[in-house]
Subunit: 369 residues, 2 copies
DNA sequence: CTGAAAGCGCTTACAG
DNA sequence: CTGAAAGCGCTTACAG
C-alpha cells in the first residue's frame, strides 16, 4: 500500500482552510479517483491572481460588477486552471441546484421520445441539467421517485402522472411542479387540445360512410384517456355517429392485439385507439386473423409515434404535438422555479389528423362478415 | 408588497445558526417558493430529540453505530418532520453526489430506449439518480455537455461516443467514465460481441443461395460501424461470399431509403444495414419503387428496435442485447466510482440473429432485373 | 471596486 | 455511545 506523504498534493496551505478533506490520505492511495487531480476551486484562482475568493466569485458570476482588468485576470486564471464551478457548493447557499427532473411512466414508450427531447432542449438551452426517471406505470414508484428526486432539483415535471390528485398537491407543496398531459386543479399544466384532431378524424370516418365507431380505451388512471374519450363522445354524438368504449388489457401493442376479438364482437366498422401502440397491435392481430385493414376494419391511432408510418398499411392517426408539449412544459417549469408570475402565455397545442392508409370505406357488413 | 415579519418562519433560533439565509425575507414575499415551507434539516431533528446534529447524522447513515433507542427516536422524529437529506449538502463534505450521467447521441433513436432503461434500472436500484442528455450527433455538443455535467456527477457513461480518443482520455482523467458501444484504450467499456449474430446471418444468407452481399454503412465516426463491418468482412470472405460496403447519407430511415439506388446499382442480392432504422428505410423505398422484399432484395437490419417486427414484411435483424449493455455499463460505472478493483467480470453480450420475413432466396437476376 | 466573515446542511476525526 | 468543532466550496450582506 502506497502511503501519500502529508504535502504531496498541495504544498501551499490555503488561505482559510487549515484542514483538508479528512479522507484525502486514504482516497489518494486507491486507484480510480486517487489518480485524478482534485478540481480547482475559487481559492486556487484567488491565490493565483492575488485577490479574495469573494472577488473571484463576483468576477465569475456578475460580469461588469468589478474592475474590468481584474475580471480579465480572474477569467484567464480560471481558464488556465480548468476551473469548473462546483454545482453542489453553489446550491448550498443559493438553494438553487440548476437541475430539473422529468418523470415519465415508461421510458421505452415511443410517445415520450419527442416530449423528452423537447424538454431536454429547453433545459440545456437554459443551462439546466435534466434528471430523468421512469415510474414503470406504478403510482407507488412514481411517488417515491419524485420524493427522492425533489431535494436534488429545483422543480419536477410529471408526464402523464398516475398519482392521485392529493399526492400531486402534496408534491407541489414542496417544490415547483408542472404537469404534462394531465390537469389537476390549479397546478400548472401543459396539455394538448385533443378536439381538433378528433373532429377531423370523426368527419373523415363519417364521410367514408362509417356510422358505428369504437374507442379502444387506455388505462383507467390516465387523465388523457378520459380527455380523449370525452371529446370523442361529445363530438360523435353531435355528428350522428354511434360510439362505444371498448376496454383493453394494456395500452401497448399486445394490449391492442388482444382486444381484437372484442372489437370484432362490438360490430363497429372503425376504431380509434387510445394510442398508436394499440392501433399497431390491433393491425397486427387483424393481419394474423386475415381481417383486411382498412377494407373490413378502419383503424385510427393516437399520437403519431415513431414507426406508425412504417407499417403496411401505414397507420392513420391523430398526432399530438409531443415535442411542443415537452418544450412548453419545461418553459412553464422554469417560470415556476423563477417565480416568474407573468410567464408568456403559451399558445394552444392542437392535435392534428394524419391521414394514411389504415382507414377506408366500410364494407356492407361488420368486420366478421 | 407583503413584507414578512422577522420571525414568521421559525420562532426558535437554531442552535448554531444565528443568521438565516440572506435572501429569506425577499424570497418569502414572492409567490411560488415563498409559500413553501423550507425542508427540515438534521438540526430540526436534533432540536426535537434533544441530541446533537452529529448524532442525528450517524443515526441516519450508520445504523447500529449508536444507541438503538436513540436511533429509534431520531428516525421517528425524522419521519414526523418529513425529513429528506439534502444531497447537495451531503455532497460537499463527501465529494459524492449520488448521481450518474448518461450521454447518448440522439434521444429519439429507438436503439437507445432499452439501453437507457437498463441503465436507469441499475441506477435507481442502487439509489442513484440518473442525469440524462443528448449530443445530437455532434462531438462538440457531446464534449461541452460532458464537461458541464461532470462536476455534478460521480461518473459518466458515454454511449456510442463520437468524441476523439484523446477527448475521451481527457474526460476520464477528471472523473470515472465508462463507454458503451465503443472501445478506447484501457478505458472501461461495455460492447456486445457482434460476431455470433453476424455469423448466423451470413450462414442464413448463404444457405438461401446469396453470393453477393452489401453492407449499408453507418457514420464514419462510429466505432460500432467499424466493428460491424470488420466482423462482416472477415466472416463473409471465409464463407466464399462477396461483400461490399455501400455508404449512406445518415443512419436513419431517410438515410436508408435514399441509399436504395446505390444498393440496386451494386448488384447485390442481399443487404445488411448498419441499423434497423436504415433497414426500415430501405424497405420503405423498395415498396415505393415496386422492388419486392425479399423476392428481389433480402434485407437484414441490426439492433432489433421497436417497430422492426411491425412492418410488412417484418424485418429480419441481428439483435443487440441493448438492455443488458445498459445494465452492465452502469454496473461498471458504479464499480469505477466506488474504486471497486475487482468488480465481477461481466458475462459476454452476444448478438443474436432474428429471422423474420425480409430475407428469402434470391431470384435469378440482381434486383434491377 | 474589494475583502473578511458568516452561513448554506451535511460529515467525521477527535476527544471524551 | 455522543458532542463540539472544523471543514466541504460557494455566495452575499456588510463595511470599507
Amino acid at each position: 500500500m502506497v502511503v501519500c506523504p502529508p504535502m504531496c498534493h498541495d504544498g501551499q496551505a490555503r488561505a482559510s482552510t487549515p484542514r483538508r478533506r479528512v479522507d484525502e490520505q486514504t482516497a489518494s492511495t486507491e486507484r480510480g479517483n486517487g489518480n485524478r487531480k482534485p478540481p480547482a476551486t475559487i481559492y486556487d484562482i484567488a491565490r493565483l491572481t492575488g485577490v479574495s475568493a469573494s472577488t473571484v466569485s463576483r468576477a465569475l458570476n456578475k460580469p461588469g460588477r468589478i474592475n474590468v482588468r481584474t475580471e480579465r485576470r480572474i477569467r484567464d486564471a480560471a481558464e488556465s486552471l480548468g476551473y469548473r464551478i462546483n454545482p453542489m457548493a453553489r446550491a448550498l447557499p443559493t438553494g438553487r441546484t440548476g437541475t430539473l427532473a422529468l418523470l415519465v411512466s415508461d421510458i421505452t414508450n415511443p410517445v415520450y421520445f419527442d416530449l423528452v427531447r423537447g424538454a431536454e432542449r429547453v433545459a440545456s438551452a437554459t443551462d439546466h441539467t435534466l434528471v430523468f426517471a421512469e415510474s414503470q406505470e406504478s403510482a407507488e414508484i412514481e411517488l417515491s421517485t419524485a420524493e427522492r428526486l425533489q431535494p436534488a432539483v429545483d422543480g419536477v415535471l410529471l408526464v402523464a402522472s398516475r398519482l392521485s390528485d392529493e399526492q400531486i398537491f402534496e408534491l407541489s407543496a414542496t417544490k415547483p411542479l408542472v404537469l404534462a398531459n394531465r390537469r389537476v386543479g390549479e397546478i400548472p399544466a401543459v396539455v394538448p387540445d385533443v378536439t381538433p384532431g378528433i373532429i377531423e378524424a370523426l368527419d373523415h370516418l363519417k364521410q367514408l360512410g362509417h356510422r358505428s365507431i369504437g374507442y379502444l380505451a387506455g388505462p383507467e388512471a390516465s387523465w388523457m384517456n378520459r380527455a380523449r374519450w370525452d371529446a370523442l363522445f361529445e363530438n360523435a354524438v353531435g355528428r350522428g355517429l354511434s360510439i362505444v368504449e371498448i376496454t383493453a388489457a394494456a395500452p401497448t401493442v399486445d394490449g391492442g392485439a388482444s382486444a381484437l376479438r372484442r372489437v370484432v364482437a362490438s360490430g363497429v366498422t372503425a376504431v380509434i385507439t387510445y394510442n398508436d401502440l394499440m392501433g399497431l397491435g390491433l393491425m397486427r392481430a387483424c393481419r394474423a386473423e386475415g381481417i383486411g385493414v382498412p377494407e373490413r376494419l378502419s383503424i385510427i391511432g393516437f399520437d403519431d409515434i415513431f414507426g406508425s408510418d412504417l407499417t403496411t398499411p401505414a397507420l392513420t392517426t391523430i398526432r399530438s404535438p409531443l415535442a411542443a408539449i415537452g418544450e412548453a412544459a419545461m418553459r412553464r417549469l422554469l417560470a415556476e422555479v423563477r417565480d416568474d408570475l407573468d410567464a408568456d402565455a403559451e399558445p394552444p397545442l392542437p392535435t392534428e389528423f394524419v391521414l394514411r392508409e389504415s382507414t377506408g370505406a366500410p364494407t356492407a357488413g361488420s368486420p366478421e362478415a
